[in-house]
């Protein structure tokens, strides 16, 4: 611990901190542009000048290590004069176009010039002009406003791992650009918009949409992948204008992926706003009454084991739970499944389908093995953590099968289950590496769970890890990487028609067993429609609605309160930021009303009752532990082929989003501009 003084206040700080951090700990805010907690130190904006005793000149506090006995002063007239000088230089070439700048109202330069700016300019010369740069469909540039803090360059090189941004030229002519103005190929690219302290990099889809003070801000959870990034949804009336990240060090730090941020314009397109009934192959608008009437009549005339249901990838846990009740109490059918494919799951123990090492734990890891997974597209934030771990601990990464550029180097193993067999039987060099590693991580992706040997692989890997004490009270090296926001929640709620790889509902559909099929927000259709009467409930007119007979318009994730459990098993609540369009209703209300129509008794009186009942259920199931882990399983030598992931088109909201379409187009025509190794 170091003892030092800030403005005559004695404080004790840890070693290795900078003067700026010491001042923050003492409670004094230091203005800054280039410094950022999550990035390396550049020290080039000079805004953070402070006075240190015995030093003749003011010192840039962000780049100065704090030492024992320092006497730092942040509020002297000398400091203020120095900062005013820096600010005047920054403003010399900065255009005074705040009224037409999208950053206005949340601009660091604007805010700080309120304290350190002088009221009129002494600069009479012409201001510098910098041509705009093309940086892709997400980032709008106005480079004349750039103050060369280089945050964006450091973010791209360090966090995103795509060294495509750079500063060309020098002195007054320095310009930030990508190599020959190609767009940035990263799923984290739009974070540079948040990082930019001025209006040089602003959001292209949000251009001139609204001012920050006009927007209603709701803190909620993202559902684009299973990570459950913390976000803030900004709405103007009904419309979701933009989505920004919220800091959560355990999950997304302070970044979010481009899909989480920009799929929100999909919430305005392709929306189902009124119930529809298909008559003679054409959808006709109808009332809720009519729709309920048709469904309940159909249910009366069908025996309960001929009714099945599949739930979707964006469904919240309340809806899942009330659907489960609807099936078990109202219809009395057990044909409900949350998997859109034949996917292996054994939910006897929670650790069988969770990311047990935790996202935060990746940072401590020194060895990572990826099996049938491409974390860059399946869970972008997890991939960013792996890269951070690689930078911090020089973590060795192995992948079974070549999965393309992951933004960090990794060793490729042959993509067969034979290799996994060798590893778990201690015959492979990787086995030694796992044993020697203090905190290894093995990540199993969805592509592996589709294989016949999924059960074998999972059990054997667990056995191997347990034998070598890699699964203990402090550390669990076994991880499953779920792809969808609802996956873990539905396993927790036991929305499965059968354990193991076979999905009983899908099998039934293949054998034409069912007469009524409920699709609850399910648009990943992996089956062929036969003669079933399909009821689709969901927010968007997509693949599910297309094949259905009755459409019940539901709400999207920003339009209803709901819980989501992320891939590491953390339960988080998403809050209502907007309301469902037209006549659409919240999902749980629809199921409840349908239940009361059929049985003339509603399942739950209100949302609170539903929530309490669900939490109770989760508590009970988590305390029930049954360890019948073993089913019969055989080894099959198979190829592990990675699921092709259409990153920008992975769910209904993204598919309806124009911005995502543009990103996808850009990606298709993209040529690699970084180093091709």
């Amino acid at each position: 611990m170091l003892k030092l003084k800030v403005n005559e206040i004695d404080i004790e700080i840890e070693e290795g901190l900078t003067v700026l951090q010491a001042c923050e700990q003492a409670g004094f805010e230091i203005p800054r542009f280039c410094y950022h907690e999550k990035l390396s130190i550049a020290g080039n904006c000079r805004m953070c000048l402070v006075e240190i005793e015995k030093s003749p000149k003011p010192i840039a506090s962000c780049a100065m290590p704090a030492t024992e006995g320092m006497n730092i002063k942040t509020n002297t007239s000398k400091v203020e004069k120095a900062r005013k000088g820096v600010m005047e230089f920054l403003l010399a070439n900065h255009p005074l176009d705040c009224p037409v700048c999208d950053q206005g109202g949340e601009c660091d330069l604007q805010d700080q010039s309120m304290f350190y700016g002088i009221d009129k300019s002494r600069y009479k010369e012409n201001k510098r002009y910098v041509p705009e740069k093309y940086m892709g469909p997400l980032i709008k540039t106005q480079m004349t406003r750039c103050i060369h803090c280089t945050r964006c360059i450091r973010f791209a090189t360090e966090v995103a791992g795509v060294p495509e941004l750079g500063a060309i030229g020098r002195g007054e002519d320095m310009q930030i650009t990508t190599y020959l103005e190609k767009s940035m190929e990263s799923e984290l690219s739009a974070n540079v918009i948040d990082l930019c302290p001025v209006g040089a990099l602003t959001s292209k889809p949000y251009v001139f949409e609204a001012r920050p003070w006009e927007l209603k801000k709701t803190e909620t959870i993202d559902v684009m992948d299973a990570v459950g990034s913390n976000i803030r949804v900004d709405t103007y009336g009904w419309e979701v204008k933009r989505i920004l990240p919220r800091i959560n060090e355990d999950i997304n730090e302070e970044w979010i992926s481009d899909k989480s941020r920009y799929a929100c314009d999909g919430l305005q397109n392709q929306r189902l706003d009124t119930p529809y009934i298909k008559k003679d192959g054409i959808f006709k608008k109808s009332s809720w009454e009519e729709a309920y009437e048709i469904i309940s009549k159909k249910i009366y005339s069908t025996s309960s084991d001929e009714i099945a249901g599949l739930t979707g990838d964006l469904t919240n846990m309340e809806t899942l739970f009330i659907t489960k009740d609807f099936f078990s109490k109202t219809i009395k059918s057990s044909n409900l499944d949350s998997r859109a494919e034949h996917l292996f799951v054994n939910n006897d123990e929670r650790s069988n389908y969770l990311f047990n090492s935790k996202i935060n734990g990746i940072e401590e890891s020194d060895f990572i093995l990826l099996i049938g997974s491409n974390p860059r597209y399946e869970a972008t934030m997890v991939n960013a953590r792996i890269r951070k771990s690689y930078l911090k601990n020089n973590t060795e990464v192995f992948s079974i099968g070549d999965v393309g550029n992951l933004t960090y180097p990794y060793n490729v193993l042959k993509n067969t289950t034979e290799i996994i067999k060798e590893i778990v039987e201690d015959k492979h060099e990787v086995s030694k590496k796992i044993k020697n590693s203090k905190k290894p991580i093995i990540i199993i992706g969805q592509s592996l769970l589709k294989l016949d040997s999924a059960n074998y692989v999972i059990e054997k890997i667990k056995e191997f890890l347990k034998k070598n004490n890699k699964i203990n009270t402090d550390w669990n090296a076994f991880n499953i990487l779920s792809n969808n926001a609802s996956t873990v929640g539905s396993y927790d709620l036991n929305i499965l028609s059968s354990k193991g790889k076979n999905n009983k509902v899908l099998k039934g559909i293949e054998h034409k067993k069912f007469k009524i099929l409920f699709l609850l927000g399910l648009d990943e259709i992996h089956f062929k429609k036969n003669n079933e009467f399909i009821v689709y409930m969901g927010s968007h007119g997509d693949k599910g609605a297309e094949i259905s007979d009755v459409i019940l318009p539901g709400a999207a994730y920003t339009e209803q309160d709901g819980f989501f459990t992320n891939l590491e098993g953390k339960i988080q609540k998403a809050y209502k930021a907007s309301y469902p369009p037209g006549e659409a209703k919240e999902d749980w209300v629809i199921i409840n009303e349908l239940a009361s129509k059929i049985k003339s008794k509603e399942l739950y009186k209100n949302k609170d009752e539903l929530e309490k009942s669900m939490m109770n259920y989760l508590k009970i199931t988590s305390s029930e532990k049954n360890n019948n882990n073993f089913e019969n399983f055989n080894f099959v030598n198979e190829k592990i082929n990675l699921n092709e992931i259409d990153y920008y088109y992975s769910n209904v909201i993204a598919r309806s989003s124009k911005t995502m379409s543009r990103c996808r187009q850009e990606k298709i025509k993209f040529k690699d501009t970084g180093t091709e190794v």
């Binding site: 495509e164 750079g166 500063a167 060309i168 030229g169 190599y179 501009t673 970084g674 180093t675 091709e676």
Partner: protein, 202 residues
């Protein structure tokens, strides 16, 4: 000075000549294994010499791959330094010093000759595309002002007549003799040296 423009006409490919490949090996051996990227400046210079005094984008890409660096990082270096040319400057690249000592000794007369003989504007190629000229800041030969640099050689103690002769030779592909054009050895006084008489090569 403004930001460097990139030539619109770019060759498709660039590869180091065999001779230069040997030199690159020597350059690379100066740096430790994990710091090979430090060789970027030397390699850019080598590429510039090989390619008639300018660096095409293909060469930057080639060097980036050669040193396992992102393209943009090589591009940053190449745009930062004024002595890397990113547009064609001709086989004979003439740089005339116009900083104060040279200017006082008549550097602008040299400039006028270049304007007349090579091209009206600086940084533009002559008619046969073999030659261009530019004004530069001090080249460190103030004692022998005025002077100009043609490719690697200094031509010093010039006047109009001599300059015209040199440029005529250059334009007809003859390499004039470098050094002082008033018969001096290096920067010795004109009427022979008065001190350090016992040293041969002072």
């Amino acid at each position: 000075m403004s930001i460097k423009k990139i030539s619109k006409e770019q060759p498709e490919n660039f590869n180091f000549s065999e001779e230069n490949l040997k030199i690159t090996e020597k350059i690379l051996s100066n740096y430790p294994n994990d710091k090979k990227q430090s060789a970027v400046m030397a390699l850019l210079y080598l590429a510039q010499r090989q390619n008639d005094n300018w660096i095409p984008l293909a060469a930057m890409k080639h060097i980036a791959k050669f040193l396992n660096m992102p393209y943009i990082k090589v591009f940053e270096v190449a745009t930062f330094y004024s002595m890397y040319n990113l547009t064609p400057v001709g086989k004979h690249f003439i740089q005339i010093c116009t900083t104060t000592p040279c200017m006082l000794r008549g550097a602008y007369k040299l400039v006028d000759i270049c304007k007349r003989k090579i091209s009206e504007e600086q940084n533009t190629l002559s008619k046969d595309k073999n030659c261009s000229w530019t004004e530069v800041e001090c080249l460190g030969a103030c004692v022998n002002a005025p002077m100009m640099q043609i490719n690697d050689d200094y031509y010093e103690d010039l006047d109009e007549k001599m300059t015209e002769k040199i440029i005529d030779q250059i334009l007809s592909d003859i390499k004039p003799k470098p050094g002082s054009y008033r018969g001096r050895i290096n920067t010795e006084p004109e009427n022979n040296r008065q001190t350090l008489m016992d040293l041969k090569n002072a």
